[in-house]
């Protein structure tokens, strides 16, 4: 069991080695970067086996004392229970597959550049930070991982930093998630003040006795955590960064912006669920945020022309489902969907990456078309991933995870949210199959070259298998960690509503087929009209949140800054300090005249004063 720490050590060693030798050859960088995560995944497997053998009790591994300042003590401790084990598996397992795929993918980015150590160093560092986030036994360690993944996300979004737009996208992602981080930090301070500790289990244990149900304190603390989670998980109102984050390499989008980092918010809320149980208002808010985000992101995904941006909006929408599940108290369903989503969304992203490479870095779906004959393998993979995303009944994993959420929403009595979720499911299958039909059907527009090699095929195949009902058979050991769902399963009502959800998904596919298969006459006339054009523009821009924030926050800030550029009373106040020190400097420099006689006089005066003090004082 003490092997647990090695899941961290391997990627850390990898990151250090890769950053110490930035000019190493591509082969070496690829081997080190992939092998370190592979070893980490193997360690996870061992840990998982030992853990379930030993009865599945929470396991704490305290490595050393991190901070010891007065009453404030923080351990560098790892905490393993069913929830962190699940996350650990997703991060190391999916992470390894994505690293493997990246080893194939990044070859096409070499262009005579020396090595790719920087890329793999960032990726390994990301794995370390993400593992710290999910394994930390206290909120400060979690926050360290939280910031670490934010940093790696920033570095990897801006990986192609030669293009200014990519650097701006990285800035945007960093700054917007940082707004959430600030709220999380405030939440941490608040929790420390209230509980006197940052240990998560201690807080959860003490919470019911310290805070009363529904008190303002509990609500504020939960709200701060929620806002932090929103920033990281790209939920309303901090969702605008995720689509732009697609500027990074595609494996990065798969690893960070689909499978792991963006789900950190879900993990955080699940981890501190006790807090949300004490704050019913904020708990409701989680569900509302999730529902609104999933609908908005679904609309935005309908009108994307960039394959990666479309998938990014679908990620946002799926995390909305997870938030919805968290908000209605379906904790286990949320984590289950998190894992399934990690499978099929990385599959989609990796396949998209494969398609992009096959089409020579073309990302516009309307310039692809008809790829199913040239890229049958990618086509199959995309169908499997898209089917899971759309939750097509029975054969896909997404069906089991997503419909559990939709059912729980209804069962917990949230009719309106249920309608939103169901509508979201309809939109999901429309945009998913729109992608498939546009990219793989219709007339051929480019010459494509299918990807080759084990590193290309293996991750896709494994993820594809996990995206089918096989993945849904994984039983998560969450019973001791998270509360059970409220609703009874297996009821005939549930059966009815599941059938309804399945029909909705299939209707979505049918609508997409109607619009995008064949001559696309309907959609063309729809878009040609003025209203259709305006709607399309609105959806294409992510429903105008960027413009809204620009008008509400950025421009007033810039205007204020500009108005005070030269004459600023704060500056006047601040300038007192340098003026004082400059005056003191002038005075002291004058005293240091270099004239011995003046010095003698000053010494004498000092002696006289001291003598006077001794005599009369």
């Amino acid at each position: 069991m003490s092997l647990l720490v090695f899941t961290l050590i391997f990627p850390l060693l990898g990151a250090i080695t890769l950053s110490l030798f930035p000019r190493m050859s591509y082969g070496a960088a690829r081997t080190i970067g992939t092998a370190s995560v592979g070893l980490s995944a193997a360690t996870f497997a061992l840990v998982a086996v030992f853990w379930s053998w030993s009865g599945g009790f929470p396991f704490i591994q305290t490595l050393w004392q991190w901070i010891d300042a007065g009453d404030f003590q923080v351990n560098f401790g790892l905490y393993l229970d069913g929830l962190s084990l699940t996350m650990l598996g997703v991060i190391t397992g999916v992470g390894f597959l994505i690293h493997l795929f990246a080893a194939w993918y990044m070859v096409h980015d070499l262009d005579g550049k020396p090595g790719m150590a920087r890329f793999f160093a960032y990726m390994n560092l990301f794995i370390v930070a993400m593992l710290l986030l999910v394994l930390g036994d206290n909120l400060l360690l979690l926050y360290l991982g939280w910031e670490g993944v934010g940093l790696c996300s920033y570095l990897l979004i801006g990986y192609y930093y030669e293009t200014p737009a990519n650097a701006w996208a990285a800035f945007k992602a960093f700054i917007i998630t940082r707004i959430g981080d600030v709220f999380l930090a405030i939440g941490l301070f608040l929790l420390y003040v209230v509980f006197g500790t940052l240990n998560i289990q201690a807080i959860l244990h003490a919470a019911p006795s310290v805070m009363t149900q529904g008190s303002a304190l509990a609500n504020i603390a939960a709200l701060m955590v929620l806002l932090g989670a929103c920033g990281k998980s790209a939920q309303l109102p901090l969702q605008t960064w995720l689509a732009d984050a697609m500027a990074g390499p595609t494996p990065v989008s798969a690893l960070i912006h689909a499978a792991t980092m963006v789900t950190a918010g879900v993990y955080l809320i699940a981890r501190t669920y006790g807090l949300f149980l004490l704050a019913p208002t904020v708990h409701e808010l989680v569900a509302v945020i999730g529902a609104v985000t999933l609908v908005i992101a679904g609309f935005a995904a309908l009108a994307q022309t960039d394959i990666k941006r479309a998938i990014a909006y679908s990620t946002m929408s799926q995390i909305g489902y997870m938030f919805l599940a968290l908000g209605v108290g379906a904790w286990q369903a949320a984590i289950f969907h998190l894992m399934i989503h990690a499978f099929f969304k990385s599959l989609l992203f990796l396949t998209a990456g494969s398609v992009i490479i096959a089409c020579h870095h073309e990302q516009n779906i309307f310039k692809m078309g008809g790829l199913r004959r040239k890229l049958p393998f990618d086509y199959a993979m995309f169908i499997i991933g898209g089917a899971a995303l759309s939750a097509l009944p029975l054969v896909t994993a997404g069906f089991y995870s997503k419909d559990a959420i939709i059912w729980e929403t209804l069962a917990s009595g949230h009719g309106l949210l249920w309608a939103a979720a169901l509508f979201g499911a309809l939109v999901t299958s429309i945009y998913t199959f729109r992608l498939i039909f546009v990219v793989f059907h219709g007339e051929e527009k480019t010459k494509a070259h299918a990807g080759q090699g084990l590193a290309h095929h293996l991750p896709l195949i494994v993820l594809a298998v996990l995206s089918t009902f096989i993945g849904a058979m994984i039983a998560l050991p969450l019973d001791g960690v998270l509360p059970h769902e409220m609703a009874e399963a297996g009821h005939w009502v549930e059966l009815f509503f599941e059938v309804l959800a399945a029909i909705v998904a299939l209707v979505g596919v049918a609508i997409a087929a109607l619009l995008y298969l064949g001559s696309r006459k309907t959609i063309d006339t729809l878009l040609a009209s003025e209203r259709g054009q305006r709607t399309w523009q609105l959806f294409h821009g992510g429903l105008g949140f960027d413009g809204l924030y620009d008008r509400v926050f950025v421009r007033p800030f810039l205007a204020t800054a500009k108005a005070h550029e030269k004459r600023d009373w704060i500056e006047t106040v601040v300038n007192i300090v340098p003026a004082l020190s400059r005056g003191a400097n002038t005075g002291l420099a004058a005293a240091q005249s270099g004239r011995l006689r003046a010095y003698a006089m000053i010494m004498f005066a000092g002696a006289a004063v001291i003598l006077a003090l001794l005599m009369f004082g």
Binding site: M601, F604, A608
Partner: protein, 188 residues
Amino acid sequence: MEFTFFLAGLIALVTTARVITCANPVHALLYLITSMLALAIDFYALGAAFAAVLEVVVYAGAIMVLFVFVVMMLNLNAETVAREKSWLRPKLWAGPSAAAGVLLLAMLWALISGGAEMGGITGAELSAREVGMNLFGPYVLVVELAAFLLLATLVVAAHIGRDEPNGVSDAAARGERVTSNVQVGESR
């Protein structure tokens, strides 16, 4: 004893006053030596015969001879005396004298107000033997420190007093002479 003390003290004061007002360095030195000899007499009057002898031999003898050597090396003449006089303007005296007066008043006030408890001096003879026993008894560490001090002084004096071999810093201080040398070199 009192008579001797006061007379010698008066001589010391007068000659010291002349030291600080005199413009000619040689005269000032002679006044200073006289002042030290007078102080030696005061020491003797207070019973410290050994200290008196040391004052004459070491202070008035050795240290002052050092000053005399330096005065000889400085090539003083009537011109320097005139310049010295020009430096001694009455305006300069006011400030330091006032400050010294204030401190003197303070010290005298302290002495007089505490004078009753101070007691008197009998002027009993103190032999050199006692001083020696004291030096190499309880004060031996201080003697060692004094030895360190003198050794350090030796090193420092040797360092400061030496001539710069190639005169780099010399030349920098006297830029005009360097240029003249160069001109000589060119004309050759």
